[in-house]
Symmetry: C2
Subunit: 190 residues, 2 copies
Amino acid sequence: MINYPNGKKSVPAKSVPHASASRRGMTLESDINQSNEYYLSTGKAVIHKKPTPVQIVHVDYPRRTAAKITEAYFKVPSTTDYNGIYRGKYIDFEAKETASKTSFPFSSIHPHQIEHLRQVLLHGAIGFFIVRFKAYDETFFVEAAKIIPHYLDDQKRSLSYKWFKEEGILIPFSLSPSVNYLKVIDQLYF
Amino acid sequence: MINYPNGKKSVPAKSVPHASASRRGMTLESDINQSNEYYLSTGKAVIHKKPTPVQIVHVDYPRRTAAKITEAYFKVPSTTDYNGIYRGKYIDFEAKETASKTSFPFSSIHPHQIEHLRQVLLHGAIGFFIVRFKAYDETFFVEAAKIIPHYLDDQKRSLSYKWFKEEGILIPFSLSPSVNYLKVIDQLYF
């Protein structure tokens, strides 16, 4: 696990030491997808990213076998991006990265996603956020129950980096899985 | 619940009495979506259909705010269409309808989907199929564990209507939810 003293916030991303040099330039999404593939292939969990929701308007059939979508639009997601099952529990989370060095803006989370997480928590889910501060290459696990009240507070538009250092749990990097968030779930829930 | 004697297999769909005349022409997908909305709005369960997986190749930006997808292709799904949480349990299923009066063909299920269901069952999921025989307007709930061995049997290409009558559970129709599959889950798992 990489830890930075709080005073070192201005360290540029390039000079931050990585667990693996080959990780450089990897997005949070590709890290999580790689981790989920690892979990699946080792029989540890079944967690998938949902497809991007798209409104399909027109489809061409140039050949009998190949349908080509020629007009479609991105839709606002009504749920989070990731869900699945781990140790018998329903898992549900959203992953976001920010370029900001000081705070995570709520504008990147849709109200539908907050409502969805609130609902699944009521039914006994393990619901959370994975938030990466790219400037520090730090990836935090935060329980949804901790973020929801702040999001619903009209006075708040973001959560500070400091808040994540205090309330979140730094997810350890490794070669495989690159973002080992199940390790945090083991600590918190089992 | 509608029950037909086994001998009445040739009854045309039009003459089958419905719980509601307004249901006529509803697809299984729209019935399940309506049921899931009902479950969500009444706080009973959180179960969603996943978006159709699409490979996006080209996106135009005619205006700053509106992205238009101009080239995309359908992808083979790597999981089932529906998942979520009910009474603390992870729920995962695939829904299919067939026009056949005699059998349900395995060709409509992707091998990936069978493998996915096999995996989630190992982790403690409630995994199943909802299969509708359109000719009889009968919708069956079948545990995934019952279908998987038949699917993996190279000699088998389908399961007979008779098999569903014997091994499946007829899902009751109602106005809302139109396909009350959670009632069957209550009976089988709780």
